[in-house]
């Protein structure tokens, strides 16, 4: 307990002096790279906006413009059947000057959101939660990257940069999730619940992160509420999230004037009416699906996606932050409209677990598979859509490879963390080959 309190205060002092020089350099460089890309290649933002790997039907910036146009002309933004994003983005973007005439403001907003995400990520890294949580301390916890390195890796990750230039609204979800976690590791559960409510409101799937997040909040709760039982704590936070979501939805219905946005935003995520290709596994499957089985398999896919939450939360109860990391990886593979933005978030979170990297067995395979898919994906998409010399199977095959690479990474990371736990229990097995029996 003394150690924990020490860690806590340590994190606080770091946060207070967060405006250190290295951080300014990293953030400045990241912003500069983005600004340079925005200004030096004026065609790049629109090119990347049109990429299916970056923009999905539920996050696309182009669709946001359509919704914004309808909204500003007093037409329901959901009337065209194109806009499937949360209503609250509309007044937010209406405040900005039009991105067609003054794109700089939009660019600055997206750069700022990226920097905020990186800032939250740094706070998570500084908390040391990855190496030693309340219930578990890894014997390897000292082997870690600095928060600056992790932030730099996130900010200079090509996936993150491409996402920022392509301006999908998933960056807001990423930012909200990272803030929810960064608030959870310092124990401010109320703010954390607010952030996860925002993320869920924007993209719906982050609500599945609630169980590990609330456990993380519970483990890191402040001393004054130490004697609170876990049940009352969870119930309190459930009520908080429900309240936040209720007020957000109520606000949205006031903004759009009706409740039809529910069907156009969350209904689209649940029922997948838009089968635009993306890096995920759903679109091709549901193109091929006979209509009579469609609803059944929608149920199967969603249950599959959500069934991981309970099992992982129970099994990895001592390390809720790792549950969040693994779930983000699983969502990046199995959610209905994934993009590389989700992958960049998962990779950023995975970097917090530097200390288990030596225990991973297939890093080379996983990373080269991901690299392979990254390079071949756009090529096969080009062959299919523009050159006409390939067909949909080309692109679907490469998204399968992509998902395979991510699955290997997720499974391997999970293995490594379990091995790490096991070695605490059986210290004599350290460094030896093991196999499952």
């Amino acid at each position: 307990m003394v150690l924990l309190v020490e860690l806590h205060s340590f994190a606080h002092t770091k946060i207070k002096m967060s405006l250190d020089r290295r951080k300014v350099t990293i953030f400045g460089a990241a912003a500069a790279v983005r600004l340079l890309l925005f200004t030096a290649f004026p065609g790049l933002p629109d090119l990347l906006t049109a990429r299916v790997e970056i923009s999905t039907p539920v996050t696309s910036f182009k669709r946001l413009q359509e919704g914004l146009f309808l909204y500003n002309h007093n037409v329901s933004p959901y009337d065209g059947g194109v806009y499937h994003q949360a209503p609250i983005l509309l007044p937010l973007f209406s405040l900005l000057p039009s991105s067609a005439t003054y794109p700089a403001f939009t660019y600055l907003l997206y750069i700022l959101v990226d920097l905020l995400s990186a800032n939250a990520l740094m706070k998570i890294a500084e908390s040391g939660e990855a190496g030693s949580s309340k219930l578990y301390t890894s014997p390897r916890k000292d082997k870690k990257w600095t928060s600056h390195a992790i932030a730099a890796a996130f900010l200079f990750n090509p996936f993150t940069i491409a996402t920022c230039i392509g301006r999908p609204t998933s960056v807001f979800t990423t930012c909200a999730i990272l803030h929810a976690i960064s608030k959870a590791v310092v124990g401010s559960s109320f703010t954390s619940m607010f952030a996860i409510s925002i993320a869920s409101y924007l993209s719906m799937y982050p609500i599945l992160l609630f169980p590990p997040l609330v456990l993380l909040c519970f483990d890191r709760r402040r001393r004054k509420s130490q004697n609170e039982t876990i049940y009352s704590f969870v119930i309190g936070n459930v009520i908080a999230v429900a309240g936040f979501l209720y007020s957000l939805l109520q606000m949205s219905s006031i903004i759009t004037g009706s409740w039809e946005f529910l069907e156009s935003t969350y209904g689209v995520q649940l029922l997948l009416p838009d089968l635009t290709p993306n890096v995920g596994l759903w679109w091709y499957f549901f193109i091929e699906m006979f209509d009579s089985f469609r609803n059944f398999f929608l149920g199967v896919f969603w249950i599959h996606l959500s069934s991981y939450v309970g099992g992982l939360t129970i099994r990895l109860r001592p390390q809720p932050l790792f549950v969040l990391t693994i779930l983000l990886g699983i969502f990046a593979i199995f959610k209905p409209y994934p993009s590389i933005s989700d992958t960049s978030l998962f990779l950023a979170m995975l970097l917090l677990y530097r200390h288990v990297f030596p225990l991973m067995r297939y890093t080379f395979l996983a990373l080269s598979t991901i690299l392979y898919a990254t390079l071949l994906g756009p090529a096969f998409y080009y062959l299919w859509i523009y050159a006409g010399s390939g067909n949909a199977n080309f692109f679907y095959a490469i998204t399968l490879v992509w998902s395979l690479g991510l699955s290997i990474l997720v499974a391997d990371a999970l293995f490594a963390v379990l091995r790490d736990e096991w070695e605490v229990e059986r210290p004599e097995m350290r460094g030896k080959e093991i196999r499952q029996i």
Partner: protein
């Protein structure tokens, strides 16, 4: 994601020397057994953890998966109004009745005499008629100046048209005369036939009843035939038809075409050589066929086209066509006679230029449900061919064989309304009154 089921306690050292998995130790057991290690027993805590993880999956499967599986894979079945359908199938839903109104014009008689005659004739008719669905109803035609009271006659507001008007005219002998171009039956009576108000029957009433019965016998038989094919309960089904009547009616049904809102008529001229290359079909149609079609307009619409085909050889040759050859006469392979492609069935009428003859002397014949053929060597006068075609068209549409033209037409109109009715029995969602009203309006 199978790795998620890893539990540390069941991980075992992969020792290359620990190959001895058998329970029986090998011969050199003393050197191997020392290195072979059993995994330590699982802690109850990790067993509990594993059960909880399994439980969490099963909870999702049972409480989310099962209901979703059940709900999304059940095949939707609409609830059918079975009781109502069974009623229709058993003929209980409604009772088909085809009343015919026959109006009696008796200006020469006193009012009470006319009333009396009406009653006795109705009695005589009812006695003759043993088929309740087809019912002749007599009424006195109102005097010309009393139009307002006429509206009171038509009960229920539906304007049933009068099928036949009987004009009672004083004459020297008793005879009935059906006018050719309007549905009017002139009945001449001798003065002594006027029934006295005391007698319950009179010869005039019997005579009128018999005449009417004969006139409508064919129509009655048609309706009886149609209803016998539908599933009416036995107590309401018509009397059994005489075999020869049934046979002729069966012929009549096979000959006539299926009812359609629109028929397409094709008039074709086929000639075995290069002449004649034209015919005055337009004028002939205008003069002989169009008036007939106009009178059909209440049941069907007609579209017409014509064609001329030179160097057309018939399917069978020879100057005298045998009866069994007639079916092969139409050279279906070469003659451009379009089948019914659109919604409307096609009725083909063919004029073949030639001087062949059908065995027995005819020069025209009817092809059931298809059309008619006329063989004619000289096509300068198309009138006889057109008249034959008109007759054939009547037959093809299912008009009765006997009676004056207006009566035949009216029978045909009524017949379509009636034949539509048994079909309507299957339309269970529409209340019976509206079905009848709809077809009556057609």
């Amino acid at each position: 994601m199978s790795t998620s089921s890893h539990t540390p306690a069941i991980l075992q050292e992969d020792d290359s020397r620990g190959i001895g998995k058998d329970s029986v130790p090998p011969a050199d057991a003393f050197s191997v057994a020392s290195t072979k290690k059993e995994p330590p027993p699982e802690k109850p805590e990790s067993i509990r953890l594993r059960s909880l993880v399994l439980l969490s999956f099963w909870v999702i499967i049972l409480f989310l998966g099962l209901p979703i599986w059940w709900k999304t894979t059940t095949i939707y079945r609409a609830r059918l109004p079975l009781d109502q359908m069974m009623d229709w199938a058993d003929g209980r839903a409604c009772r088909p009745v085809f009343p015919l109104r026959i109006s009696i014009e008796a200006d020469s008689l006193q009012d009470h005499e006319a009333q009396h005659l009406l009653r006795t004739t109705q009695h005589a008719l009812d006695d003759l008629n043993d088929f309740s669905a087809h019912h002749l109803r007599l009424q006195l035609s109102p005097p010309a100046n009393a139009t307002t009271s006429a509206e009171g006659v038509s009960k229920g507001g539906d304007e049933e048209e009068v099928a036949l008007v009987i004009r009672l005219l004083p004459g020297t002998i008793t005879k009935a005369d059906l006018q050719s171009y309007s549905p009017i039956l002139d009945v001449y009576y001798t003065p002594n036939q006027i029934p006295s108000s005391s007698s319950s029957s009179s010869s005039l009433a019997t005579y009128i009843a018999n005449t009417l019965q004969t006139m409508f016998a064919e129509e009655q038989a048609m309706i009886a035939y149609l209803l016998s094919t539908s599933s009416a309960p036995p107590e309401r089904s018509p009397k059994a038809l005489a075999p020869e009547v049934a046979e002729s009616l069966a012929k009549w049904t096979t000959r006539s075409m299926k009812y359609s809102r629109t028929y397409h008529l094709t008039f074709s001229l086929f000639t075995p050589n290069a002449t004649p290359s034209s015919w005055d079909i337009e004028a002939a149609l205008e003069e002989h066929v169009k008036p007939l079609l106009k009178s059909f307009s209440s049941i069907s619409n007609f579209t017409i086209d014509t064609q001329v085909q030179l160097y057309a050889t018939p399917g069978v040759g020879g100057n005298v066509l045998k009866k069994e050859d007639l079916s092969g006469f139409i050279n279906a392979a070469e003659w451009p006679l379009s089948p019914s492609i659109g919604g409307a069935p096609t009725v083909n009428f063919i004029v073949y230029v030639g001087d062949m003859e059908v065995e027995g002397g005819g020069k025209s014949w009817l092809i059931p449900q298809w059309g008619g053929v006329v063989i004619q060597s000289d096509i300068s006068d198309l009138r006889p061919a057109m008249l034959t075609f008109s007759n054939q068209l009547m037959s093809l549409l299912g008009a009765p064989e006997t009676g004056s033209l207006p009566l035949r037409l009216m029978t045909l109109v009524r017949r379509y309304h009636q034949s539509a009715f048994p079909k309507a029995l299957q339309m269970v969602y529409t209340p019976p009154s509206s079905i009848y009203a709809k077809h009556a309006m057609d």
